[in-house]
Point group: C2
Chain length 205, copies 2
């Protein structure tokens, strides 16, 4: 009795299943809907091929199945996919996991923080200044997506945007505080200081 392939969850895979809850659909159409509805803020479909690849494995794992290949007038051929029973169950099970269990993810910024002393204090100050500008710009970009529709569509459909906005704001606040500490010298390092620290740790275990 060979164990069934347990399909791997991923943002793109969930988006595919969620769309197929609505109706059978071809991959390109999914891509369009994801962009139209701004879900591309939270699922990476920058490279459309990722969608095709994901769909292939979902077919292989029997979460979805090919429905038909059709040729609408004046359009290239389209391959329609539909949900299977297993696909429905799996989508719900993924939702439950993704909501209840924080995933451990490894973003880049904290890694750079971990190795700050590779650069000079002065340079770090300049670089973090640039980061702040970009974070502010990104914050404004997200707000511009939310504000105009806020009184037209229910909040329920803006939650992911609100969440990334909240995260952005907290990062901005934190980086600003760090910059202050660096400017005031509360946090400081240079060659000499780093060497003296190293000595201390060689003496005491």
């Amino acid at each position: 009795m060979t164990m069934r392939n347990k399909a791997k969850k991923s943002p793109v895979a969930l988006a595919v299943l969620a769309l197929l809850f609505e109706e059978p659909m071809h991959p390109y159409r999914m891509w369009q809907l994801i962009k139209e509805r701004s879900k591309d803020e939270v699922v990476n479909v920058r490279y459309r091929n990722t969608l095709y690849q994901t769909i292939d494995r979902l077919v292989r794992d029997e979460l979805i199945s090919k429905k038909e290949t059709r040729k609408e007038d004046n359009r290239p051929e389209q391959t329609l996919y539909q949900l299977t029973g297993r696909g429905r169950e799996t989508a719900l099970s993924w939702m439950r996991q993704m909501l209840a269990e924080p995933a451990d993810e490894f973003p880049e910024f904290p890694v750079a923080l971990a190795y700050l002393p590779m650069l000079s204090v002065e340079e770090v100050i300049t670089l973090l200044g640039k980061r702040l500008e970009k974070l502010d710009a990104e914050k404004i970009r997200i707000e511009k997506q939310i504000t105009p529709v806020q009184d037209k569509i229910p909040r329920l459909f803006l939650l992911e945007m609100e969440f990334i906005l909240a995260k952005l704001q907290s990062e901005i606040k934190w980086v600003r505080a760090l910059l202050d500490d660096l400017n005031e010298g509360t946090i400081y390092w240079d060659e000499a200081w780093l060497n003296s620290i190293l000595e201390q740790f060689k003496n005491k275990p």
Copy 2:
């Protein structure tokens, strides 16, 4: 004149280069140091093989090079690696990018938020409650790493921990607020409500 392979930056790759700034080292030793120094909170070395794979490509791209293969007494063979000039430059350039330019990353939680109506309000409330518990536990875990060493080592060496703690706290706050709204009914949906919304959008473009 073929363009030189532009090595791809990644948390693991940066960690490797950063360690080799200290001295030549073998992969297993890097793995140990990353864990000893708790850098595994921000670079994913859960699977040690990732480290070996990354090192292979860094060698291929000439950011590091094999120094020697040695056999210390009563130890398996070790392959020592060292930084190249290109490796030094690249590490600094990566640091500059990672500090100055926010990367776009695609964590799982916001995707689940984007498809909340797949589940019932009641179930979402339960699931978010569980998430909150785990976020709180994780917060305590991080605090327990920071507190005991706070007055022994300079803040400079705890920044990445402080950052992930700040992000955790902001997520906790946000999820708690969402839970309140769901409990109060400020945000609500069910079959009937969703269908009526759908109707509205069919009429108005």
